[in-house]
């Protein structure tokens, strides 16, 4: 099929998912509320000592972001699977991996990107310095798409299962570890006033790798789950 129709299908699917999300606006808040709630639990558990909180803040916020992203993954294919439109994607005239990429980008725009809006607030809650909050935003910007891309593989593998959610975390969380390590450490390092270009380049590398490879894996997984 010509690239024109490919771009049109890509844009169409992106428009459709954003429109669907817009029509159920209230659900957009769920990942954000979860993100804030989980982060506020930690000081209650660890105690309010600012120095201690500042030390553990990067790890806490990034683990909370990771969990928020993972919990919102189920919506990527679940509703399409139940009403049969996922089958229509499988037999569309466009390669499935491109359609999958459109859906994952839409999912990131709906659930991943908004985390950046709330992140500075949480940074203040945990006494983080200005530099580390800036680093937090940068790492979230680079990291959350990777979470959506890799998570989509897990969702595609478990879309046909009745209780796939439990297994999804076991499949996906180990694959999130590199993002967590580089991102959390970037925030901690910038807090100490050191440059974090190495971390950001590694995160960018993970992003490029997952943008190019994971849609293929997700498409293959969908074809198997629906066979």
């Amino acid at each position: 099929m010509s690239t024109a129709s490919l771009n049109r299908a890509f844009a169409l699917l992106l428009w459709r998912d954003l429109l669907l999300a817009f029509r159920r606006r209230t659900e957009l808040l769920n990942p954000l509320l979860f993100f804030v709630l989980v982060t506020t639990l930690f000081p209650l558990g660890i105690g309010a000592d600012p120095a201690l909180l500042r030390a553990v803040a990067p790890g806490i916020i990034w683990v909370a972001a990771l969990l928020a992203a993972m919990l919102s993954l189920d919506s990527v294919f679940r509703s399409d699977f139940e009403d049969g439109s996922l089958e229509q994607f499988l037999i569309s005239a466009q390669p499935l991996s491109v359609l999958v990429l459109a859906k994952v980008i839409a999912h990131w725009l709906i659930t991943g990107l908004p985390l950046l809006i709330v992140a500075p607030l949480l940074g203040l809650l945990l006494h983080m310095s200005g530099a580390s909050i800036a680093a937090l935003l940068l790492t979230l910007l680079l990291g959350t798409p990777v979470l959506s891309l890799i998570g989509a593989i897990g969702v595609a593998l478990t879309v046909g299962l009745r209780r796939g959610g439990v297994i999804l975390s076991l499949l996906v969380l180990p694959l999130y570890i590199p993002v967590l390590i580089f991102a959390a450490d970037a925030v901690a390092t910038s807090g100490a006033g050191l440059p974090i270009t190495a971390h950001l380049s590694l995160l960018a590398a993970l992003l490029v790798l997952s943008v190019s490879l994971s849609p293929l894996a997700t498409a293959a997984a969908l074809k198997i789950s629906l066979s």
Binding site: S5, S85, A93
Partner: protein, 212 residues
Amino acid sequence: MAAVATDTGLNARHLACMRNDRNLFEQLSFRLGCGQALILEGRNGSGKTSLLRILCGMRQPDDGRLHWDGEDIFRLGPEYHAQIAYVGHRDGVKQDLSAGENLRLARGLGAPNPAFSIEAALDRVELWEHEDVLARNLSAGQQRRLALARLLVTRAKLWILDEPFTSLDSHGIDIVESLFANHLAGGGMLAVTSHHPVSLNDADIIRINLST
């Protein structure tokens, strides 16, 4: 009836399909050319839906080959999918989108059919002025007709339909049968499963019963 050249259209050879260890069907061969309709019969669970999903390329046959214009459909991939349209048990209609939006999406995913605008397709299934009505507000019969209207907005040569008449009243069935007749007259192809009889008066019909 256009002379059926040797390898145009769908050509199935020795298809076999297993479900958890029972052979649903085996050594199934048939050929479907322009203007021909394949009507699948058989009791529930005899593999009708599985065969349709194999025809769509969504499921690998456990054995045998399926060719479209002489080429294996799994090697063709999206090229083959541009030639087919499928309506399964589930309508594939998004409840939160309007009828027009659903059709615009279907048109974008397939090869757009210039002959039918969204409006014309809706009129053809007698969903006049329903373009901006949310699918959730349509009756089951209307949603089914909307799903079938999807067939019109793409240039699909082969229509693959699983129980197209479910939740349709007699008038709805007449509309759909006239759609089929036009499609076949225009050189299209049809593969359909249905419990009640499909009256395609003079079309060239191939009947396969999977439960014999």
